[in-house]
């Protein structure tokens, strides 16, 4: 099909879809008028029932923890998919010498950028840990903090040293973190089954709202998910960076 025909066809279809979409959206309650029952219930009882002041995190890691388990394994499974798709294929090789590969630096990284990276890495790691462990009190939690934590090693790459990034987050370590985090979250659910009688039912003391160690299982679940997200993103990023920097097709004479 030519590009022109395709665009014409899309134009007709999109016009129809647009009309239906606008018609359907017009049937929704007006912006600001919707009175969601579940949201009201959670806003009403959330703090007293779970002793968490950030109700989004409370929903994520307690009320809807079972859904989050599925979400977490989607992340795990898709990272596994990325690793599988970007595996070293026949006829490809990873550059064997670390020294040689070290020369494949991100071009244009100045000394100032490197110094800034040195400052940024610890700051990002601290901010990430802070966001992970304070999820039950203020906006944050495992998913958000995990992405910030994963961006720490990424800054090392941006400063021009991919091999340093691999050294700060070696494959084995980040893969283990990914797996341990995913398993840990599932184990928290199982602990609820064993100690409290229902999957993901809270089995830890609630504490005082607003304190760091409060809201029962939520901080624990947040740390597990934070670990998994950090690992998952670093695994995925380093797979892509391996493709760009390390993996080369084998020269023809080297085959067989």
């Amino acid at each position: 099909m030519t590009r022109r025909a395709r665009l014409t066809m899309f134009g007709v279809g999109a016009a129809g879809l647009g009309v239906v979409l606008i018609y359907g959206l017009a049937g929704l309650p007006a912006f600001g008028d919707y009175e969601g029952v579940y949201g009201h219930v959670i806003n009403g009882i959330g703090v007293s029932a779970r002793h968490a002041t950030d109700l989004v995190t409370a929903l994520n890691f307690d009320f809807r923890a079972f859904d989050t388990l599925g979400e977490e394994f989607i992340l795990f499974g898709s990272v596994l998919g990325v690793v599988l798709i970007l595996r070293q294929l026949r006829g490809e090789q990873e550059r064997p010498s670390l020294d040689e590969a070290d020369q494949h630096a991100f071009a244009g990284a100045s000394e100032a950028l490197r110094v800034l990276a040195l400052v940024l890495v610890p700051a990002l790691l601290v901010l990430g840990v802070y966001i992970v462990v304070h999820g039950q009190i203020t906006p944050g939690g495992g998913f958000q903090g995990g992405v910030i934590l994963a961006s720490g090693p990424l800054v090392l790459f941006l400063s021009g040293r991919y091999m340093r990034m691999r050294r700060l987050g070696p494959h084995t370590l980040v893969e283990t973190g990914d797996a341990v985090g995913a398993a840990g979250f599932a184990l928290i659910g199982l602990s609820g089954l064993i100690f409290a009688g229902a999957f993901f039912k809270n089995f830890l003391p609630f504490g005082i709202p607003g304190h760091l160690l409060s809201a029962g299982q939520i901080p624990l679940a947040s740390v597990a998910v934070g670990l998994e997200v950090t690992g998952a993103f670093l695994v995925a990023w380093s797979e892509f960076l391996d493709q760009a920097i390390l993996i080369r097709s084998r020269p023809p004479e080297a085959e067989q």
Binding site: L7, A14, A26, I42, L55, F240
Partner: protein, 114 residues
Amino acid sequence: MSFLPFAIAAWLFLIGLYGIVSSQNLIRVILSLTVVQSATYVILLGVGYSRGGQAPIFADIPQVSKAVDPVVQVLVLTDVVIGATVTAMLLALAVQAHKRFGSLDPQELRALRD
């Protein structure tokens, strides 16, 4: 004015679809898909907003304050995670497609066309 957030969502959805159909580069197709997906964020957050409501974080506001719906915000969080994972998978496929066909133009992916 009260329809504006939903109109923006519909616009994002359609403009993203246009990007998918018209792009001649797989990376752009994938980016357009994330634009389509961001329409769902806008719809969900628009649905959950209640007039005069505050963020559902009761750390520094009284427990009885009116707040927006936290349930849709959690759904958006899930949505963002799914969006990131789908993008990662598609980008990985694009890398391998480029290796095999030497091009990122969807028209050039012969094995899929023949």
